[in-house]
């Protein structure tokens, strides 16, 4: 087929090069986590494992990492719970202010982060709210919420209402029907939304910077130390998180494709 001749060699080659390009900074960060650096981690001075064994020795890096985890987990739980409820309501029920609700959910995605960050900061300022972990969590929950609703909505829409009807026909209480039927069927969508929320929260810098006060998250730590040289330990943490996340993605992919194969096999 002639129409695929471009696709045969040039396109795969291009894609391979483009993906390689995407990976260069990741490789750089990983390699420099092994740099035998003194103060700033800019010039290559030789291979060492020390940075990996003394991660927390660089002042503040582990605290900021722990803060990022706390914020990520809390904001993810909040956004997923609130967002899932909204997604179910939007797909299943009819109500008056539906288009208003949709617009209200779309707007945060169309607002640049810096505007949301400055807005929240202005509000905290006028209410005299002390900035800290709490205000960071509030901000992160906000920008995760819309993404959760969009993700879960797609899953709710693909759910067959007959299954829940069957549950009710068999005298299941509304709570039983929800927890035994609806929730398990929605779970993959909810999990995807939660993972996305956590990833968004963990890597967020701009909103965090406006609403964190004196508290450091990991990206803020990188930003602040960038002025005077980032310790190699920051590269260690970033690399470790990266490896963990990639392993997680690969194993879930392999597991789900195995499951799909199993389900595809004819019952003997």
């Amino acid at each position: 087929m002639s129409k695929f001749s471009f696709g045969k060699y040039l396109l795969p080659l291009y894609t391979a090069l483009a993906l390689l390009f995407l990976l260069i900074p990741i490789a750089y960060t990983f390699v420099f986590s092994f740099n035998d650096s003194v103060k700033s981690n800019i010039v290559w001075r030789g291979f060492t494992l020390d940075n990996w064994t003394t991660v927390c020795r660089a002042q503040g890096v582990c605290e900021s990492f722990v803060n990022s985890i706390i914020v990520g987990v809390t904001a993810t739980l909040l956004a997923t719970a609130i967002g899932t409820a909204m997604a179910i309501a939007l797909v299943r029920y009819r109500f008056k202010f539906r288009s208003g609700t949709n617009l209200l959910l779309f707007l945060p995605m169309a607002t640049p982060e810096i505007v949301m960050g400055a807005g929240l900061a202005a509000q905290f300022l006028s209410f005299g709210t002390q900035k800290g972990l709490g205000t960071i969590i509030i901000a992160h929950t906000l920008f995760c919420l819309s993404f959760v609703v969009v993700t879960v909505k797609a899953r709710v829409a693909s759910l067959d209402p007959a299954l829940e009807e069957a549950g009710r026909d068999l005298y299941g209480s509304p709570a039983q029907v929800f927890w035994r039927i609806t929730f398990p069927l929605l779970l993959p969508g909810i999990m995807a939304a939660a993972l996305l929320s956590f990833a968004l929260s963990f890597d967020d810098f701009i909103i965090t910077y406006f609403n964190s006060g004196s508290v450091y998250t990991f990206p803020k730590y990188v930003y602040i130390t960038a002025a005077r040289g980032i310790p190699a330990q920051a590269n260690v943490i970033a690399s470790a998180v990266f490896i963990f996340a990639i392993l997680l993605v690969v194993t879930t992919q392999v597991a789900s494709s195995r499951k799909a194969k199993k389900l595809a096999q004819p019952i003997s």
Binding site: Y14, A18, R94, M109, T151, I246
Partner: protein, 303 residues
Amino acid sequence: MAFAAFANTAEAVDVPKKKSKIALVLLAPGLAYLALFFLTPLISLIITSLQAPDIFGDIGDYVYAFQWQNYVTVINEYGVQFMRSFVYALIATLAALLVSYPIAYFIGVTARKWPVIQGLALILVIAPFFISFLLRTLAWKQLFSDNSPTITFLKSISLLAPDAQFQGSNFAVIFGLTYNFIPFMVLPIYTSLERLDLRLLEAGSDLYAKPSTSFWKITVPLSMPGVVSGVLLTFIPASGDFINASSEFLGGPGTQMVGNAIQSNFLVLNDYPAAAALSIMLMAVILIIVSVYVKRSGTEDLL
């Protein structure tokens, strides 16, 4: 996937919808949250943008005064940065689109025959999400710093002028923005192309269409929802970004964007009214651009 956020909304399945009080209970927490932490802050921002310095207070104290001249002041002072943000964001968005479309096409269409390669390529596209974008941006800065092997080499073969500098140039900031948003462009386009029915292309070639005609008349229109959402996911954050343009990362004094002006006014100079006025203007311009763009590209139902 939620990266198709802007593209997906149109295809909700028709479920018999009933009226119920339950809907209110389910919506109440979310609506309250958005009202309290999204709408109210926007109103706070508008109020702040109209404040004047408090004559009786300390530096950094402001009172409401309906001082609309704040807007005139910031336009005079930061008009250049404001325009620059949109020019940078526009170029970066176009560049990211050009780089990303073939990648998305390969993963979504060409690689269908090889599921393993498809899965691997997808993982590589999302891989940058798992490592701090600040560190990735710094990596480029260091790879292209004045004494780096890359730059020395390019200078030695005269591809670069001897006094050329990467950091602080327009090119560096646009390069950084493009790099940062490529995954956000690839994923939605991939989601659209993955659903593309190849029989349509066959039908095209049966009707003696050249491959290029089929591509422009069939593939591209069918991938438009992905392109629109990729463009929005890139353009909006890119125009409000201040990392790439900041002097500690890829920028310099001549590359400051509106984000840098907002950031320094709010967090360094404590000039909250100026920062608020700039934010409101940024949001207004973006909302106008987005609604015009969405209308033009015929994907209105996503609103």
